[in-house]
């Protein structure tokens, strides 16, 4: 792996981390606001997180 590759990978991970943090944080807020909707919020959260994860992994592997 060359240095630009590593920097790119780091940037991807930072971006994905921010995104996941946002998803997780907002989901927690949602759950706190409406505990009875926990199941639905978690499903949506996991789907969005999975999509983001797919994007991040795709970028990582394209750059590898």
């Amino acid at each position: 792996m060359t240095i630009p590759n590593l920097v790119g990978a780091g940037l991807i991970v930072i971006g994905a981390g921010i995104g996941l943090g946002q998803i997780g944080g907002r989901a927690m807020e949602g759950i706190a606001r409406q505990p009875e909707a926990t199941g639905k919020i978690q499903t949506a959260m996991i789907i969005i997180a999975a999509l983001l994860e797919g994007l991040a992994f795709g970028a990582l592997f394209l750059g590898k």
Partner: protein, 167 residues
């Protein structure tokens, strides 16, 4: 990306796809179909059982309310009967009392009549006796005091008046 494509094995992909098709087919035929259908059957059975239990409950409620109704009616009937019986009893007693009173009144009236009659008779008798007595008395007096007949007669009347019986 290059390494990714380099690692990709077309042969494995073909094998995997063929086997996956076969496995999906086998699993659907031998596992999922029977499992899912028996699960659905069971769910249907549970649903039906619940429904019939609900129905049975409703029926039970119906029956018990009917029972209640019957019981109520029976109770009313009994009340009615009791009331009637009581009324009859009271009527009978009243009738009997009335009859007895009438009877006794009749008897008393009869007795009174006979007493009256007897009294009258007795009075008649007494009057007759008294008349006889007075006649006898008068004879005697007349024998003694014939001289003053008129005076004597006055005297007799006066006596007779005095001896009028108080009834």
């Amino acid at each position: 990306m290059e390494q990714l494509l380099n690692d990709f094995s077309p042969g494995l992909f073909i094998m995997q796809s063929i086997l996956m098709l076969a496995v999906i087919f086998l699993m659907v035929k031998f596992a999922w179909k029977p499992i899912v259908s028996s699960l659905e059957e069971r769910e249907e059975g549970i649903k039906k059982a619940l429904e019939s239990a609900e129905e049975a409950k409703a029926e039970m409620e119906n029956i018990s309310s009917a029972n209640e109704q019957l019981l109520k009616e029976a109770r009313e009937e009994r009340e009615k009967l009791m009331k009637e019986a009581r009324e009859t009893k009271a009527k009978m007693i009243a009738d009997a009392e009335e009859a007895a009173q009438e009877e006794s009144a009749k008897i008393i009236a009869k007795a009174k009549v006979s007493i009256e009659l007897e009294k009258k008779e007795a009075l008649e008798q007494i009057k007759k006796e008294a008349a006889k007595l007075s006649v006898a008395l008068a004879e005697k007096i007349l024998q003694e005091e014939l001289s003053s007949a008129s005076k004597s007669a006055e005297h007799v009347d006066k006596l007779l008046k005095e001896v009028t019986l108080k009834s």
